[in-house]
Symmetry: C2
């Protein structure tokens, strides 16, 4: 069974051109087959402000109305996706930028409007992933680069969580490839103390995750990332790491998610 590496890169890294370039050079050096899933960054927020699209939030989470979806699609599927693809091409990686609509690679279900109407937001599960077309691309030396825009198969685009998308793609491909999932961001891993960058927890299993949640050691933003990480693990993904984008090629660094019970 071929090993497939799926890397998620966060918006914080995308916002810093030098960090992004280094990361992309490292990603290009990773062995194929591989897939990149990228987040958004601040460009969408800047453009929403500039064009006067009101930013509406519910408990800190953005509501994607029609104007917001348009801006997000322009920024994520347009500028960010294509600049990443062009840089990967330069680095010798045969990247092909995709939204979920492209080749119907990832379809999604519009989130129900109750209890909160988040607008054009799409939720994905493993059955949403088009494994044959992804295998076709991967087996022919292409490297899919996904933005987190999907489609509803009814002609509509949907804004999707990039962490979830990476997790679900990894889960869907775990039967075809020995799959490795790496969530890369601007920290060294999951921190025991959010104020201490050196407090990276080397490994977390499900029991320890429960304990960290109960002790409120894991911060709000990290919780969904860990939920996504464990979901992939439980779906058969062989290895899952949360790690620093600048340490992509250092195999043993970051936080490893492990399924087993902590001894």
């Amino acid at each position: 069974m071929n090993t497939l590496t799926i890397v998620k890169i966060g918006g914080n890294v995308i916002d810093r051109p030098a960090a992004l370039q280094t990361f992309l050079q490292d990603f290009a050096a990773l062995e194929s087959p591989k897939i990149l899933v990228h987040g958004g960054g601040i460009l969408a927020t800047e453009l929403l402000e500039k064009t006067g699209v009101p930013v509406r939030l519910h408990e800190g989470r953005r509501i994607t109305d029609a104007g917001t979806l348009k801006i997000c699609t322009m920024v994520y599927a347009g500028w960010i996706n294509k600049t990443i693809v062009a840089q990967l091409q330069q680095a010798g990686c045969n990247a092909v930028g995709l939204s979920g609509a492209d080749a119907n690679t990832v379809s999604a279900t519009k989130r129900p409007p109750v209890p909160v109407d988040f607008g054009f937001v799409g939720d994905v599960v493993a059955g949403c992933i088009n494994v044959p077309v992804l295998s076709l691309l991967l087996d022919n030396g292409l490297c899919p680069v996904f933005c987190a825009i999907t489609h509803d198969m009814q002609g509509g685009l949907l804004n999707t969580n990039a962490d979830t998308m990476a997790s679900v793609i990894a889960a869907a491909l775990a039967k075809t490839y020995r799959t490795k999932l790496l969530f890369c961001f601007e920290k060294g891993g999951v921190l025991a103390n959010p104020d201490d960058d050196h407090s990276v927890i080397p490994a977390i299993d499900t029991a320890y995750f429960q304990q960290l949640k109960e002790q409120k050691i894991i911060s709000k933003g990290m919780l969904p990332k860990l939920d996504n990480a464990f979901a992939a693990l439980h779906a058969g993904v062989a290895e899952v790491y949360i790690k620093h984008a600048a340490r992509l090629l250092s195999a043993k660094e970051g936080t490893a998610l492990v399924a087993g019970v902590k001894s």
Copy 2:
């Protein structure tokens, strides 16, 4: 030899949602293999204005500075490309949206800065087209949908003329497929009288084209389109038409470009 249909759709049609939807449904009904190349429309101009990017022109042609390239990439490769792909998917056409950077399908050469520096504008020739990867997609039932953004293989994106891109893609694929190229826009074809929509010229050969040019019957905007059309024909494309977007499925309508000498 399989017949491949390549359709270019102009910005004027893209700007009218109802016309675009009808066109895309017709395009979905065309026999595969097929490729769509789309132009831009007014959205980029609107967004340039809204975001305060100055529009610089030379003899009526836009100069693509860094800010303009960013907006064009967002609009063409992002919003327009992905909305077209989502609509085609709904209509049962397995579209995959591409810029030239994606899978290195179309590379371009940045136009020399003398005599006029047009900025980030890329010129394409048949050698720029990645025939093996396009054949891979086409032969596996996928329909490439191109925006007119290319790359320089050095990490940079370039704004490219969509008519030229369609012509050059057709020329490059003419050795692998019996290739048909249809330029679709908001008129019935090449008009003998620009003010009379019923004055469609049914066929133009190279000699007649010369004559129409000398008599200044062909207007400024139509000249480069015809140059692109004849270039494809001379490169071995089997059939080239300029026709109305609403008449895509009417085989015999529009202006046929023919290589032979007019009797």
